[in-house]
Homo-oligomer: 87 residues x 2
Protein backbone atom coordinates (compact mmCIF):
# COMPACT_ATOMS: atom_id res chain seq x y z
CA UNK A 1 0.00 0.00 0.00
CA UNK A 2 2.95 2.33 0.71
CA UNK A 3 4.28 1.71 -2.82
CA UNK A 4 0.85 2.50 -4.33
CA UNK A 5 0.56 5.72 -2.31
CA UNK A 6 4.10 6.70 -3.30
CA UNK A 7 3.30 6.17 -7.00
CA UNK A 8 0.07 8.12 -6.54
CA UNK A 9 1.80 11.05 -4.84
CA UNK A 10 4.55 11.13 -7.52
CA UNK A 11 1.89 10.98 -10.26
CA UNK A 12 -0.05 13.76 -8.53
CA UNK A 13 3.12 15.83 -8.17
CA UNK A 14 4.00 15.47 -11.88
CA UNK A 15 0.56 16.15 -13.32
CA UNK A 16 -0.16 18.94 -10.81
CA UNK A 17 3.10 20.84 -11.23
CA UNK A 18 3.31 20.04 -14.97
CA UNK A 19 1.50 23.32 -15.62
CA UNK A 20 3.97 25.36 -13.55
CA UNK A 21 6.57 25.76 -16.38
CA UNK A 22 3.69 26.86 -18.66
CA UNK A 23 2.50 29.32 -16.00
CA UNK A 24 6.04 30.79 -15.76
CA UNK A 25 6.36 30.95 -19.58
CA UNK A 26 2.97 32.67 -19.94
CA UNK A 27 3.79 35.02 -17.02
CA UNK A 28 7.06 36.08 -18.70
CA UNK A 29 5.97 36.34 -22.34
CA UNK A 30 2.19 36.99 -22.07
CA UNK A 31 2.02 35.00 -25.33
CA UNK A 32 -0.94 32.64 -25.29
CA UNK A 33 -2.34 32.58 -28.82
CA UNK A 34 -0.78 29.15 -29.57
CA UNK A 35 -2.54 27.75 -26.49
CA UNK A 36 -5.97 26.30 -27.25
CA UNK A 37 -8.90 28.01 -25.48
CA UNK A 38 -10.89 24.77 -25.79
CA UNK A 39 -8.12 22.86 -24.02
CA UNK A 40 -8.03 25.20 -21.03
CA UNK A 41 -11.83 25.36 -20.78
CA UNK A 42 -12.02 21.56 -20.67
CA UNK A 43 -9.05 21.34 -18.25
CA UNK A 44 -10.87 23.76 -15.93
CA UNK A 45 -14.11 21.77 -16.01
CA UNK A 46 -12.15 18.52 -15.62
CA UNK A 47 -10.21 19.73 -12.57
CA UNK A 48 -13.43 20.83 -10.81
CA UNK A 49 -15.08 17.46 -11.49
CA UNK A 50 -11.96 15.48 -10.40
CA UNK A 51 -11.95 17.53 -7.20
CA UNK A 52 -15.56 16.50 -6.56
CA UNK A 53 -14.78 12.87 -7.47
CA UNK A 54 -11.80 12.82 -5.06
CA UNK A 55 -13.98 14.34 -2.35
CA UNK A 56 -16.73 11.74 -2.80
CA UNK A 57 -14.23 8.83 -2.96
CA UNK A 58 -12.29 10.37 -0.05
CA UNK A 59 -9.09 10.27 -2.13
CA UNK A 60 -6.79 12.99 -0.81
CA UNK A 61 -4.29 12.52 -3.69
CA UNK A 62 -6.89 13.29 -6.37
CA UNK A 63 -8.23 16.23 -4.33
CA UNK A 64 -4.83 17.84 -3.73
CA UNK A 65 -3.64 17.32 -7.32
CA UNK A 66 -6.69 18.95 -8.85
CA UNK A 67 -6.97 21.74 -6.30
CA UNK A 68 -3.51 23.05 -7.16
CA UNK A 69 -3.93 22.36 -10.91
CA UNK A 70 -7.08 24.49 -10.81
CA UNK A 71 -5.02 27.51 -9.67
CA UNK A 72 -2.53 27.07 -12.54
CA UNK A 73 -5.28 26.50 -15.14
CA UNK A 74 -7.12 29.55 -13.80
CA UNK A 75 -3.99 31.74 -14.08
CA UNK A 76 -3.21 30.68 -17.68
CA UNK A 77 -6.87 31.11 -18.70
CA UNK A 78 -6.94 34.58 -17.11
CA UNK A 79 -3.79 35.71 -18.96
CA UNK A 80 -5.18 34.21 -22.19
CA UNK A 81 -8.45 36.11 -21.75
CA UNK A 82 -6.59 39.40 -21.13
CA UNK A 83 -3.79 39.19 -23.71
CA UNK A 84 -5.30 36.88 -26.33
CA UNK A 85 -4.96 37.72 -30.01
CA UNK A 86 -6.68 34.58 -31.35
CA UNK A 87 -8.41 31.61 -29.71
CA UNK B 1 -22.20 5.09 -6.22
CA UNK B 2 -23.72 5.65 -9.66
CA UNK B 3 -23.48 9.42 -9.13
CA UNK B 4 -19.80 9.14 -8.10
CA UNK B 5 -18.98 7.01 -11.14
CA UNK B 6 -20.84 9.44 -13.40
CA UNK B 7 -18.84 12.39 -11.98
CA UNK B 8 -15.64 10.36 -12.39
CA UNK B 9 -16.40 9.47 -16.00
CA UNK B 10 -17.32 13.09 -16.84
CA UNK B 11 -14.12 14.30 -15.11
CA UNK B 12 -12.10 11.69 -16.99
CA UNK B 13 -13.76 12.69 -20.28
CA UNK B 14 -12.98 16.41 -19.73
CA UNK B 15 -9.38 16.06 -18.61
CA UNK B 16 -8.64 13.33 -21.17
CA UNK B 17 -10.11 15.07 -24.19
CA UNK B 18 -9.00 18.53 -22.99
CA UNK B 19 -5.81 18.08 -24.99
CA UNK B 20 -7.69 17.24 -28.21
CA UNK B 21 -8.28 20.93 -29.23
CA UNK B 22 -4.54 21.54 -28.59
CA UNK B 23 -3.65 18.48 -30.69
CA UNK B 24 -5.83 19.81 -33.56
CA UNK B 25 -4.33 23.32 -33.23
CA UNK B 26 -0.76 21.96 -33.22
CA UNK B 27 -1.58 19.61 -36.12
CA UNK B 28 -2.91 22.53 -38.23
CA UNK B 29 -0.34 25.23 -37.38
CA UNK B 30 2.77 23.22 -36.35
CA UNK B 31 3.39 26.16 -33.97
CA UNK B 32 4.56 24.90 -30.59
CA UNK B 33 7.17 27.37 -29.35
CA UNK B 34 4.72 28.99 -26.89
CA UNK B 35 4.09 25.53 -25.37
CA UNK B 36 6.39 24.71 -22.47
CA UNK B 37 8.69 21.68 -23.02
CA UNK B 38 8.87 21.25 -19.23
CA UNK B 39 5.07 21.08 -19.03
CA UNK B 40 4.77 18.33 -21.64
CA UNK B 41 7.68 16.33 -20.16
CA UNK B 42 6.04 16.40 -16.73
CA UNK B 43 2.59 15.65 -18.22
CA UNK B 44 4.08 12.60 -19.96
CA UNK B 45 5.72 11.31 -16.76
CA UNK B 46 2.54 12.07 -14.79
CA UNK B 47 0.26 10.18 -17.21
CA UNK B 48 2.50 7.06 -17.06
CA UNK B 49 2.51 7.14 -13.24
CA UNK B 50 -1.27 7.74 -13.01
CA UNK B 51 -1.75 4.77 -15.37
CA UNK B 52 0.30 2.62 -12.98
CA UNK B 53 -1.58 4.02 -9.96
CA UNK B 54 -4.95 3.26 -11.59
CA UNK B 55 -3.74 -0.25 -12.44
CA UNK B 56 -2.61 -0.93 -8.86
CA UNK B 57 -5.79 0.54 -7.33
CA UNK B 58 -7.85 -1.24 -10.03
CA UNK B 59 -9.47 2.07 -10.99
CA UNK B 60 -10.58 1.76 -14.60
CA UNK B 61 -11.49 5.50 -14.82
CA UNK B 62 -7.95 6.64 -13.96
CA UNK B 63 -6.45 4.02 -16.32
CA UNK B 64 -8.62 4.97 -19.31
CA UNK B 65 -8.20 8.72 -18.77
CA UNK B 66 -4.44 8.58 -18.64
CA UNK B 67 -4.02 6.02 -21.42
CA UNK B 68 -5.76 8.28 -23.93
CA UNK B 69 -4.11 11.45 -22.55
CA UNK B 70 -0.73 9.78 -23.08
CA UNK B 71 -1.43 9.53 -26.83
CA UNK B 72 -2.33 13.24 -27.06
CA UNK B 73 0.68 14.31 -24.94
CA UNK B 74 2.93 12.09 -27.05
CA UNK B 75 1.64 13.62 -30.29
CA UNK B 76 2.10 17.24 -29.13
CA UNK B 77 5.58 16.44 -27.75
CA UNK B 78 6.55 14.78 -31.04
CA UNK B 79 5.45 17.80 -33.11
CA UNK B 80 7.24 20.10 -30.67
CA UNK B 81 10.45 18.08 -30.99
CA UNK B 82 10.27 18.18 -34.80
CA UNK B 83 9.12 21.77 -35.41
CA UNK B 84 10.36 23.52 -32.28
CA UNK B 85 12.10 26.88 -32.59
CA UNK B 86 12.55 27.48 -28.84
CA UNK B 87 11.77 25.46 -25.72
Amino acid sequence: MIIISLIGYTAAFCSTFALLPQVIKVWKTKETDQLSAGTFTMMFAGAILWLLYGLLREDIIIMLANGVALIFIGFISYIKLIYNKSS
